[in-house]
């Protein structure tokens, strides 16, 4: 069943967490409601894409959902998305191509499959991996953006870390 954002927001945190559990979305037990809702909507969107791609048999194919569900940890739904978008113009049907984005916070950084994700989602997924502070500002390609910004394949994302005070 497809939910709207409002319908999800009307649910209790316990209900939302149970939905995540049922869908195999992990790492949400201590997350804020808006982050859980974003994760559910993103999962729903990926599901829709998978169905559409399967129906049309176009190069925009999606990895079998069952594989993604088996992946452990908070990265599972991103791993799913990682294999879902075919961005090579020369690619053939069935090819898979990974698009990763450089994400950093302070000294910690890495390339992650977060294209088409909002800043808010990425913050939720990577808060532990990159040690992101509670309410960080986000900078994409050197400019500040808000939480609703959707990342595209050529972006570079930085969560701002406060400067060291002592010297």
């Amino acid at each position: 069943m497809a939910y709207t954002k409002k319908e999800l927001l009307d649910k209790t945190n316990a209900e939302l967490r149970q939905m995540c559990k049922n869908l195999g979305i992990t790492g949400m037990t201590k997350k804020r409601k808006d982050i859980i809702v974003d994760a559910l909507l993103a999962n729903q969107k990926a599901d829709d894409k998978a169905k559409a791609a399967k129906a049309s048999d176009t190069p925009q194919t999606v990895a079998p959902k069952t594989d993604a569900k088996k992946a452990a940890g908070p990265m599972q739904s991103m791993a799913y998305q990682m294999q879902s978008t075919l961005t090579k113009p020369s690619a053939k049907v069935g090819d898979k191509h990974t698009t990763t984005i450089l994400v950093s916070c302070g000294a910690n950084s890495g390339s992650f499959p977060v294209a088409d994700r909002t800043i808010s989602e990425v913050k939720g997924f990577l808060s532990e991996a990159l040690n992101i502070p509670s309410f960080p500002d986000a900078v994409v390609n050197g400019k500040k953006v808000d939480d609703k910004y959707v990342l595209s394949s050529n972006d570079t994302l930085e969560f701002l870390k406060p400067a060291g005070r002592k010297g």
Binding site: A107, G164, K166, G167
Partner: protein, 233 residues
Amino acid sequence: MSKEVKVIGLGGIGSILINKLVRFVNHFSQSGSALNWDITLIDGDDFEVKNKERQEFLFMKNKATSKMEELNALVSESIKYAVPEYITNDNVAEAVREGDMIFLCVDNHRTRKIISEHARSLDNVIIISGGNDYTDGNVQIFIRENGKSLTPSLTDYHPEIQDPPDRLPTEMSCEELANSDPQLYFANLTAATIMCWMAYKVATTPLNEVEFCESYFDIVSMAVNSVKRQPRS
């Protein structure tokens, strides 16, 4: 071309940095470079025994004066002036001038803000600012060339410096000054080292080709990450 280099703050980071920087400047001058740097040291604080684990001084006196005497004996009279004062709104215009290259190694965000805001009013200035917490920290570089900011100021992407929660050393009591947070020598050393990298970069690269404006380090995760950001108008 003569350039005035000023090291502001000679605590954990500054006292390590100047030992390396003075040799680099000396080497650069002797290698036939067109760049000729004069060095000035600025700090209102005295060296105390309790800081000997982190700070590199030979004499128990004002840090700027002590370091000038020490290094001029070792490295051929490289340091021209020692100014035993803290930076405040009243003296910042005298301390930071057109054409200066400033190495900012202070231990509070309020001084960083004063210097960054003053630097915005200058046409040509370079500020390299280092800071650390216990095991991590960062180094920023703010470049103004011909009246234009080529990199963000120290406050552009750091609200904690824009609205600093701390106070200037001149506003603090002796007790407050004595009760400083513990620091790790290696964190000071890493910040000083990255400041040296930035010094090399600006000494050898056209300023409009300096891409990175800030480097973060984390000793625990053994990582250094440099970022590019656009200056805010």
